[in-house]
């Protein structure tokens, strides 16, 4: 559980749980202060460290394997030619 100095605070004023901090980190919805705090936090919270490591590995896998398709050249050509047709009318 986060300590009293945690900058992860919910809208009701209470501190975020480990899982909530982790999710904010994964969703990159953190301030620099929160990022620094979390980095220190995982040095002494093994469950957080393991979960963060796992989730970041998944993120990296996603990035390396799931967005590498180049746009077929004909798509760009067709878009440009249709736009040009519109302009010339």
């Amino acid at each position: 559980m986060a300590d009293l100095n945690s900058p992860f605070i919910k809208s009701d004023g209470t501190k975020c749980t480990c899982m909530e901090m982790l999710q904010q980190m994964l969703d990159t919805e953190v301030t620099e202060e929160q990022r620094e705090y979390f980095k220190k936090h995982i040095d002494h919270c093994l469950p957080c460290y393991k979960s963060y490591d796992l989730e970041m590995t998944i993120k990296e896998l996603l990035k390396s394997k799931c967005c590498g398709n180049d746009v077929p050249a004909e798509v760009i050509d067709q878009i440009k030619s249709q736009i040009n047709q519109k302009i010339s009318f």
Binding site: C18, K63, N69, Q82
Partner: protein, 194 residues
């Protein structure tokens, strides 16, 4: 997206906006279209439709604002209106279930204790891609927008027309579903250490 007053663009300005603010995102758009349709031809059509719509409604776009989010929103709407209807299994997420899940005390539970970093690193084939593709389209979409495209909650809320709280809970659920799927793959690879 924001209700912006209609802009008045000359033909040259329209061309500038189109070429310099819209076209640089075409690769991301194509990849998004492909993940949604899982078909290269459908992805091509979807991207083409999106860009033609973007041109037609270019005066609703304010120069210098978030073109990528604006384009993603058009593509997502085109997909829902034109493609999802004809898909074999129109997908439906039980949002009540999602909200109940997120708000329950059980939210901190570790869903896939047997999924390990080492087994993920051995997934050098299509496992991650297949796992992502297998998710319900609404869950797949939030993973793509957040993890692949780096959109923030607020941008995703506008692209998807849902409240920020729903973005957050859907993303949380999506990550867990993806882990469950990866865990299944890990087991078939002989990493059944649970």
């Amino acid at each position: 997206m924001e209700e912006t007053p209609h802009q008045q663009y000359s033909e040259k300005e329209k061309q500038d906006v189109f070429n310099h603010e819209f076209m640089p995102h075409i690769r991301s758009m194509y990849n998004f279209g492909y993940r949604l349709t899982l078909d290269q031809d459908d992805a091509k059509d979807l991207v083409q439709d999106t860009y033609l719509k973007a041109y037609r409604f270019i005066e609703s776009f304010q120069r210098g604002t978030n073109a990528k989010a604006w384009l993603f929103r058009i593509l997502k709407n085109s997909f829902i209106n034109d493609y999802r209807k004809k898909s074999k299994e129109p997908s439906k997420v039980d949002y009540q279930e999602v909200e109940t899940y997120y708000n329950s005390e059980d939210v901190d539970r570790q869903i896939t204790p047997d999924l390990r970093v080492e087994s993920l690193k051995d997934m050098i084939g299509d496992e991650i891609s297949n796992a992502l593709n297998s998710l319900d389209v609404d869950f797949k979409t939030v993973i793509i927008l957040s993890d692949l495209e780096g959109f923030k909650y607020e941008e995703m809320a506008k692209i998807l027309d849902i409240p920020i709280g729903t973005v957050r809970s859907r993303l949380h659920r999506a990550r867990n579903l993806l882990k469950e799927k990866l865990s299944e793959y890990a087991k078939t690879m002989g990493y059944n250490k649970a």
